[in-house]
Amino acid sequence: MSTTVQDRAVQTARKAGSPRSLARQQAAGQWMLLAPGVIWMVLCLVLPMLMMIYVSFWTQTTFSINSTLTLDNWVAFFSTPTYLDSLLTTVELWFVTLALIFVIGYPVAVFIGLFVRDKTVQTSLLVLCVVPFWTSFLIRVLAWRPMLGTDGAVNIILLKLGLIRQPIEALLFTQYSVVIGMVQIYVVFMVGPVAFMVSRIDRSLIEAARDLGASTARIFLTIILPLSLPGIVVGSIFVSVMVLGEFATPSALSGDKVNLLGNIIVTQVGSLKWAFASVCGVILTVLMAVTVVALLRIVNLRREI
């Protein structure tokens, strides 16, 4: 009888464990919280990426693909002018779009964040910026066609105003239309983060700077611009990642004349050239990663936000 009681006591003690093993169990429990996220990321991000790199070295023939490793796809990419042009076009349109988005979005964000004092009005204005997102992406892109075409709204208005004699044909199905479309869609991703950062600038800083005799331009350059830099960086990351991965806007607004890397991937996948599509994918991913890392080096986001 007494032995049974003792055994039971020992068992209970083992179950509860010593204080140290209890702490270890708790720590293990904390790490368990990470498991769903880690599993998800490994399955949906890390594995596919590794797969993509692997496949980019496979041997591609006209109608089939096999896992014999080769550098042919990479050589083909860097020796074919079409693909290099496409890479250059991608980078070029990305820079132009990002610059235009900054020029258009930054003043709007400063206005909303700094000059609109009423929080309700501030929120309403930001919501207004998001209104275009209430229609589908494709409709938003396609809606530019009747706007920009030779007989489109923009040309009609310019003709009526007497500003031009001939309709401008270069507006649609060119690089311009692609840039216009992308700027319109993505500008809000710059306005949001910048407006957020600017609205957090203490107004007494601006008063103090003014009291010390600084001009408005100086206050902007020395106080507002540096303090809004984290917003610019976050906005630029958003915009860059989205523009670099674009394929729908260029194909809809350029009449397939402008081919970004994204469009090449779509075409290659469509014709089952998996290995070659992987090469483009890897290049695009590296480009995005370099951009994001470079932008994050500009500011220490952990300190700012």
């Binding site: 800083l205 103090a208 005799g213 106080i223």
Partner: protein, 372 residues
Amino acid sequence: MLDIHSLTKRYGGEAALDGLSLSVAEGAYLSLLGPSGSGKSTLLRLIAGYETPDEGQVTLDGRNLTTVPAHERGIGFVSQGFALFPHLSVFENVAFGLRYHARAPLRDGAEVRRRVMETLEMVGLTDYAQRQIQQLSGGQKQRVALARTLVVRPRLCLLDEPLGALDANLRQRMTLELRRIHAALGITFFHVTGNEMEALAMGDRVVVLDAGRILQADAPDIVYNKPKSIAVARFLNRYNLFSGRTDGRGGIAAAAGLIAGPSTADQRQASDFVDFCIRIDKIRVQTEAEAIGPSQAALPATYITSEFSGAIITHLFRLADDRVAEVEDHLSHRRPAEYAAGQRYRLVWPRDEGLVFPVSAAVVEAAIRRAA
């Protein structure tokens, strides 16, 4: 030097400043005391030029400042939250006003460096020039803010509750620092505070403000010993306040009992409404058995409890009308007296130390209307 002439500012019909006039002498240290909402911040912002007055004007050395923008007034402003630029170092913060003045920027880097370091030395922050603002304590931020304002040598330096964000210990030290810096530079300081002791300690002259009007502007000892009105006495937090009616024989009938008024008070008619106050450190506590002299005033009171705070002990007594009276005892020279809770005593003070203020007819009528 600075003249404020019948300055009025209204916010939505309500007057924050109501025809306020004030002159500040060159090199003075002026402290402005008032409860929150008394208009002291408004006054500061009007002088600094952040707001425009509805009526009246501010002149500096005879020059009307009404149309002069803030940064051309030669007036420095140290705001309550310090308003330091968080992304710049201490050095760059202080150098800001020298380097970036729109009309007279100082381009000589060595000269900027010399003046910034000189000012940092004055506020005791020489070793902190390269620090980031986030790495500073509250007191150090206060010093940087002060240095940033003083480095451009303003004619007048406005300090908006400069010690408000500091803890008690630091406040004491900064008080001395401020006086030292003021003495060293000879710049006129205008120090706004809601703390009566700070106002008395800092100013050559204390201005007491309430509801947008000046109640009193005098040297600190005069404000402390001879408050001009019952409202000033109330802000000082050092007086027991009573209200009652004169009995025509030099006494005041208050709810707490008949108080012998000062013999110097002019002979009023019986039944005039008056306010009366006696400073808490003028009162002595006696047993009921002890005699009262003819030059003394007395009120019966029941002992409640005492609050001990170092060299000072504050005794609390309940008066006949159930209100609490304070008696302050300084312990530097003797052992504290001990009283029995619930026991009756007499609060005694020299009659002439009491202060009597006639109550205006308008106030009396308003009080009667409220009661009815």
